[in-house]
């Protein structure tokens, strides 16, 4: 079980949240100009680290707003929480 601190509502059970996978994936500015390899990279290839991972969550059963979390995928420790548009905090440890 994860206790996820929503930046607007506070700490809640992970059952209230929807997962949005890796954060900071930008859609290519001109999709028509990408190669097949670049487009495949954008569509299907995500980081999959064992350790700190910047990911998106949405508080589906609460405020329904998206935000970013840095979470250790091995220990499940939540290392940082920040709002959309903010940059990932440098420190991966709280």
């Amino acid at each position: 079980m994860l206790l996820i601190p929503c930046p607007w509502c506070g700490p809640r059970d992970d059952a209230e949240f929807a997962y949005g996978n890796q954060a900071h994936i930008a859609r290519p500015a001109d999709p028509g100009a990408t190669t097949d390899a670049e487009w495949a990279e954008y569509l299907y290839f995500r980081d999959n680290p064992k350790g700190p991972f910047a990911e998106r969550w949405m508080h589906a059963a609460g405020c329904r707003r998206w935000f970013n979390v840095v979470r250790d995928t091995n220990s499940h420790a939540i290392l940082a929480v920040y709002k959309p548009g903010e940059t990932r905090p440098a420190a991966d440890r709280p």
């Binding site: 079980m1 994860l2 059952a15 996978n21 995500r46 999959n48 680290p49 995928t73």
Partner: protein, 429 residues
Amino acid sequence: MAQAGRRRGPTGKPRYSIFALARNALSYHENWQAAWRSPEPKPSYEAIVVGGGGHGLATAYYLASVHGMRKIAVLEKGWIGGGNTGRNTTIIRSNYLWDESAAIYEHALKLWEGLSQELNFNLMFSQRGVITLAHSEHELKEMRRRVEAIRLNGIDTEVLSTSDVKKLVPIINTDPGIRWPVMGGFIQRRGGTARHDAVAWGYARAADDLGVDIIQNCEVTGFLKDAAGAVEGVETTRGTIRSRRVGCVAAGHSGVLAALAGFKLPIQARPLQALVSEPIKPVIDTVVMSNAVHMYVSQSDKGELVLGAGTDSYNSYAQRGSMNIIEHQLAAACELYPIVSRLRVLRTWGGIVDTCPDASPILSRTPVEGLYFNCGWGTGGFKATPGSGHVFADLLAHGKPNAIAAPFGLERFQGGYLIDEHGAAGVAH
């Protein structure tokens, strides 16, 4: 393929038989030979398989038995069969939608059918049938379409009415008033279950018999590459081991290995949970799956009800998931099988599955010459163990995929030739 007859490899291991059992009974079973050796790693091998689960051990076994290689190592970071091979719900079937999937899963099922004899190891393979339920009009229609597609591939399957399901599974609740009523289903009678640990042990023993070195407690920490960028060995916690042919079969940790080798895979590691009830007398002699409520059930020979759940939505390597997934699964179990509500849960566990965007596996060459990956089996790899090993051994031996493996290459993500099996995978990703 190895002879099913009086196989006796270089290690001269005696065969298991009723006579061996009687003979060993005379010495109080204290003189059984070890099923496999625990050798020190050699400096180099013809081929290295990274990952000592069912798929990896099967790969090594077929490299030795079909392709005649003798210098093979299986490197396992923990103990063999300790990952997803020992954590799944042991279901075997080949009722997939697309031709490519039918080819590989049916190849596996046909190998399962003679595997206990071939390996001289009782895998407790039981073709008790696998039923998939439909809970809505739409699901029923989609299921009929899938049944026809499966039959066109020559794989046995048939549609069941609600009363057919009730006849096969007397404990099921067919009341039309429940949240997800049973509106019918379909069955693959050749499907069933096998003893998961025995699959690892049987392949390990047979591979060891053919000279394969099974090296446990040996974690790969890096890949050695030559000047041209081709693989020439691995760094491990037990030293450097050289080989120009390395196959990675590491399930949930495939992404970690790919990162060490310097490339990315379209794979996400997710927890998949299962649980067993306390043991009870036989109440269900088949396997019943339900996609709509993400729950499947069978009964082990010990009498435990084995219940599988859906995956957790988030990435994890922790081999555990969230409680709400188990709650959801048990709520569905209690409504579909009311007798379950009086049972206690004996234990729950999780494994890390390597989910792929199209719910189909990857058996492929990689950007690193000589390095091959067999991964992406996600939530349903156990059923494919023999087929996966057989086909991957062929890829390792020849350096290019055979007709069964070809559609499962990494190139499919760039070419758009995805093999979308989310419907047949049985577990939502």
